[in-house]
Amino acid sequence: MNPQRIAVTVVSGFLGAGKTTLLNRMVRRAEGSRLAVIVNDFGELNIDAAIVSEVTDAVYSLQNGCICCTVQEDLLAQLSSLAQLQPRLERIVIECSGVSDPQRIVQTLAYPQLRGQMQLDMVITVVDATAHLQLDGEYARLARAQVAAADLLLLNKTDLVDATQLQALREALGLRTRIHESVQAQLPDALWLDSDLDLQPRSLKPLVRVSSDDHGEMFSSFLWQSPQPLNVERLRGWLQALPRDVFRVKGLVLLDQGSKAHWLQHVGTRSQFLAATDEAQATGSRLVFIGRRGFAGWDALVEGLEQCQ
């Protein structure tokens, strides 16, 4: 999103849902990028000592550029110091305790001290397909809070349940939330890393397919562009009504309110706007969408957007 801010991914999920497996994948995926992963227990990650290049103050630097540390009591102070690291981090992944409501961490990220330096990118909640519906009492409430806080649900261990159970789960998880089904916590890069999405204008057409090899077979992305400013209220309404097959929208929008350019990021059902810097002002709106491959509603989306102008 905004290139000046460090993107933060919050990983939530109940005990045993597969968070550690997911985090392990993220750590290994870090190759070449500046990624910091904050986990509950470094030992759980089971990182081969041979790839740890340096340990200072309980921060483990790995040979692939990723750094790992454990969650500290004062997360605000910990994040402030991570924001000072040079070279600058691109992304921070924070693991929530299995029995906590991620809202607490989401609220910490919005503290004024951090606001200028980092931005919540998304909350991913890993849901154990085999156990989620069996939780009860306070555990069930916590799991509900984790699901509700999520921009993306990673419905994990789907190989261990049958189709009927899967359908029951989907119904229980609600109709609004974006769900990606997985085995062994496999999360496609396209759903959590967006660094390869560029906003360069491709042609004069309002909607163009953006090809990207990394997206594999599961997702497609489109770029929409227009010189016209958008009405804020109508745009917000349009974003709230986005179909579930659209996982992300990001880019620059020209808003009619003061004709200002803003960075827009929309993940799941949550939108964030941020005033853009001066050089981004001049040109019109450019938005990139990531949706499920095979999604047939692109034309309707563009139509809706045009009605926001």
Partner: protein
């Protein structure tokens, strides 16, 4: 007809005989010149004789009541030098909105607000708990002022969420609190805002609550009075004769005065006026500190003290330490006020005769405090006021002698200085090395300083007998786990801490804290000889039979003196204020 006043002054008439003689007791006097006695004679609230029953026969007149203690153990009353019955109980007694559902849907919350409004007509605040964010997400709704305005547009509403991380308020509440898009965020929290307009959306995070609390009417005096009444009732029935209620405002002082005027303030109370507004606002702080506090003064009530929060607590690592926290390269915690603010304030309060009670959990905070007192002593000389280092969770070894040198009280609280799931978990954040010297009674006492104890209820149990036992054992009172927090002290030392040292901390060592002729009859009779068995799992089970303050029978568990015509303020079992501690 109302009873006559009967104050004692230089030329007021003195009777010859005692009002009451307690005889045949095992009386632990806390007076080194005469450690044990068999009987005490009381006249006009004061001890006129402490000796054997035979020696006190001369005090026995025609109207003297003589009570046979039948060998019971008797000692000076207990001193709890830091506690908060108001903070523990007032929320229970306030008639706030209580939704009463673990995770209410927005629809249930709406119904609850409307029902409360109907039952409490008018335009007053609707304040209460709880809501949860996730039921809003599930319903596809956004919590905040817009939703709350749709439920209740014309009365101010403020509701806490179940995590206690967010308060949802409506537009009327924001308006009354003077909050708009120009309002800056507080240091310890923030206002959620619309990203494009900057307008607050009605969700107040963490420390931003205080901005709403400041606009709300204070907790009613009637609620505070009920909280204090139950607090002193419990304390009297557990043998406490003097206590400090650390954090008061004009409302709280009024509640204490009403209790005092009605004869129900059965504990000597030193109330400390809050310097900061972080727990509740104090609207008349400077009037109180300038002299208005004297309006509340009596033999039972004094407000010649001020309470500060110098640093934070262990859980969020905000205690201010001299060296970094475990696993941190440079984080030492937070000092809430600059050292210059602290120094100027201590010098100023000291010159006004006001005791500074400074919340210092970290060894860095107490170091700054002791430096400030040193400066006050240098500029003012010894004012006669002993300032109080509250909590004293961690003290630098080099500061142990300074408590004596600077005449500063080392108060240890909360009384959770023994291993429990709560204390072990909460305090372990300091690290094993620091944990060894946590709550260092022994260090302060050996260096000649005055150490006192505070229960700090509701942080820990308000029961002083748990505190007494565990000062001696530093072990869990309910099991046989051999592990131990810090260094134990002897029973004699602990009794001194909880009686005479408390009196020193109150500035009342001339009139209470030990059983000596001329002092007030502040004493208790209990059901066991504290020296008869090992302390563990013994002392905390002590039952108090009688409590006297100023010679007045304030508690008589079994009505033992009722037949003789002495009616106690409180009788029967102590009230149950808290669940069983772990």
């Amino acid at each position: 007809m109302a009873e006559s006043d009967n104050f004692s002054s230089t030329h007021s008439a003195q009777g010859t005989y005692a009002d009451l003689i307690l005889g045949n007791g095992r009386i632990y006097t806390q007076n080194p010149a005469q450690p044990w006695a068999e009987a005490v004679a009381i006249r006009g609230g004061k001890l006129v004789g402490v000796a054997s029953l035979a020696e006190l026969q001369g005090f026995k007149g025609p109207n003297t009541l003589v009570h046979d203690l039948q060998g019971a153990f008797c000692m000076p009353g207990l001193h709890d030098m830091h506690t908060h019955p108001d903070l523990a109980l007032a929320p229970r007694y306030s008639d706030d909105l209580d939704v009463g559902i673990e995770d209410p849907t927005p629809e249930q919350l709406r119904a609850s607000i409307l029902a409360y409004a109907e039952a409490h007509p008018g335009d007053g605040w609707i304040y209460g708990q709880y809501w949860v964010r996730y039921t809003f997400r599930e319903a596809g709704l956004t919590p905040g002022r817009a939703w709350l305005d749709s439920v209740m547009p014309d009365r101010p509403v403020a509701l806490l969420d179940r995590m206690w991380g967010t308060m949802m308020v409506n537009s009327k509440a924001l308006e009354l609190a003077g909050i708009d898009r120009h309002t800056a965020d507080p240091r310890n929290g923030y206002l959620e805002r619309d990203e494009l307009s900057g307008e607050p959306n009605g969700l107040m995070i963490d420390g931003a609550y205080a901005m709403i609390h400041a606009a709300m009417p204070p907790t009613p005096v009637s609620v505070l009075r009920r909280a204090y009444r139950d607090g002193v009732h419990f304390q009297s029935s557990r043998g406490v004769t003097a206590s400090k209620y650390v954090h008061v405002c004009e409302q709280r002082l009024q509640a204490l005065k009403e209790l005092d005027d009605s004869g129900e303030l059965t504990v000597r109370i030193e109330a400390a006026i809050s310097w900061q507004d972080d727990i509740f606002p104090v609207r008349r702080r400077w009037e109180l500190l300038s002299g208005e506090r004297h309006y509340y003064r009596s033999a039972r009530l004094s407000a010649n003290a001020v309470k500060f929060h110098f640093d934070g607590t262990v859980e969020p690592k905000s205690s201010y330490l001299l060296t970094p926290w475990p696993e941190e390269s440079s984080w030492r915690g937070k000092l809430n006020l600059t050292p210059e603010h602290i120094t100027d304030m201590v010098v100023d309060m000291d010159s006004r005769g006001i005791r500074v009670i400074a919340h210092c959990t970290g060894d860095g905070a107490s170091d700054v405090f002791l430096d400030a007192v040193a400066e006050a002593r240098r500029r003012n000389g010894f004012s006669g006021v002993r300032h109080q280092c509250a909590h004293s969770t961690l003290l630098h070894p080099g500061n142990l002698p300074r408590f004596k040198e600077l005449n500063v009280i080392a108060e240890f609280s909360p009384a959770a200085w023994y291993p429990t799931p709560f204390a072990s978990g909460a305090r372990s954040g300091y690290g094993q090395e620091r944990l060894k010297r946590i709550y260092d009674f022994k260090g302060v006492l050996e260096a000649g300083g005055t150490a006192v104890m505070g229960t700090d209820w509701p942080v820990a149990s308000i029961d002083p007998w748990l505190a007494l036992e565990t000062m001696v054992t530093r072990q869990n009172p309910w099991n046989d786990d051999p592990s131990c927090f810090g260094d134990p002290i002897s029973l004699e030392q602990a009794l001194n801490v909880i009686t005479l040292n408390g009196a020193v901390a109150m500035g009342l060592e001339q009139s209470t804290g030990s059983l000596e002729v001329g002092k007030s009859a502040d004493l208790i009779v209990i059901d066991r000889d504290l020296f008869a068995q090992p302390a563990r799992n013994y002392i905390h089970q002590t039952q108090v039979l009688l409590t006297f303050v100023d010679g007045q029978l304030v508690y008589d568990r079994n009505g033992a003196l009722a037949d003789a015509g002495l009616k106690a303020v409180w009788t029967g079992e102590p009230p149950v204020l808290e669940g069983k501690a772990q």
